[in-house]
Symmetry: C7
Subunit: 88 residues, 7 copies
């Protein structure tokens, strides 16, 4: 199957949101096979994270909805990989 | 099959174009098997991206047409890999 | 199976706790398949360690309990990887 | 089969020559299995490229003829790999 | 089998102890499958070494006993990897 | 079979000797399976090259004879790998 | 079989000793499967080399004897790897 196979996004996560819960929620969105939340920097109120999601036909709308519900803030989209196989 | 197997291009993408939609459109051009849109720099009105497309007998004209239709601007061709297998 | 597949955490370990015992205890928590305790810096009373735990459906509560019982102090969560396979 | 298995050359390509056409033409010379044209620098009238050609018993004379016909200028030969298998 | 699968330690080895004999002795402790003694620095009376031991259910007490018997001095434990497989 | 399996040498090649011909000649010496001539620097009259030859029971005398016949000058031997398999 | 599986040593080789002969002689010591002589620096009377020997149950005494007979001078032992498999 095709569609989005990999998403890499920069996200600010408020300190009171457990990282493992956010990662688990993202891993339950449609098509997601693996989610990596990597903390880049811990600031006073938030943690800056780079989140990588891989799978098949990822549902970006559902992913954004998880950010919205948990209070995490999508800062930028770094990378979008599509098609039948991952390249780059 | 031969023809173009890998294209790497530098593109300026206006901020209002969703990266995932551009990536998906490129992945539907003839011969494309994988597309990676990597954002290098976010500027005021555009995002500078390096786009890698791999497949078999890629249709460069169709790829340019996707850029044209979405308003993305092809800045330069970085790499063109042709033949029966990818080298370099 | 899914759940948490990889945890990377920063921990301060008091000097009187043998590293091998802490590593062994962590490897016996539910779901853990491999544990790596890497000492980053030896300070006067504690050693700063980066601990990586991989497995299937890791039990973060049990892991924290091991830190609590041994007197090790969880400083920060660096990375949480979830889903059917490890990415990132 | 033996003969030349890999050639790496530095070439100046006039700006009006499409890179994809040059790459495709090179991939059709005898023995060529893969061609990579990597643009190193874009200058006012030309683009400096490193071209890698792999295959079996490559025809260097035919390759030079492609450069001659397209107006590309062979600057230097960086690497020539010969024999039954690629080394180095 | 589980237990300790990899140990990395810093050791000071007196100059009169042959490195190969120390390495061989360590490789004969219970569970050891491979031992690497890497000399980092040669000082006036001792050589500073990083020793890596891999195997299954390594016997740290027996390893320390080898250091004790040969006159080598365990400076610090750098890394302890446990469980069913090596991670990190 | 054993003997010399890999030779790496520094050679000065006069500018009038085609690199591909030198590489081909070396690939025809006894035991040679692969030859890589990598140009490191182009000087006024010569090109400084690092040449790697791999095979089985390489004939160093014959290789030197090729240099002698073509006018290439062997500057130094960088590496000689012998035995049943390549190490290092 | 176990014993020493990898030795890395620093050796000074007088300029009049052909590197290929030294490498071949080392490859004929008991247990040796591969020998790599890498020249690090060429000085006025000697060449400084890093020599890596891999095999099974290497005979360090025989290796030292080769150095002695050829006039090469063992400067230091960098690494000794023992056991059933190579680690580190």
């Amino acid at each position: 199957m095709s569609g989005i196979k990999r998403l890499v996004v920069d996200v600010l996560i408020p300190n009171n949101i457990p990282i493992d819960e956010l990662s688990l929620k993202l891993s339950k969105t449609k098509g997601a096979e693996g989610v990596d939340v990597l903390i880049l920097e811990v600031e006073r109120k938030v943690e800056a994270a780079k989140i990588t999601i891989e799978g098949d036909d990822l549902d970006f709308a559902a992913i954004k909805e998880v950010f919205h519900q948990t209070g995490a803030s999508l800062q930028s989209v770094d990378r979008v990989t599509c098609g039948k196989r991952i390249v780059g």
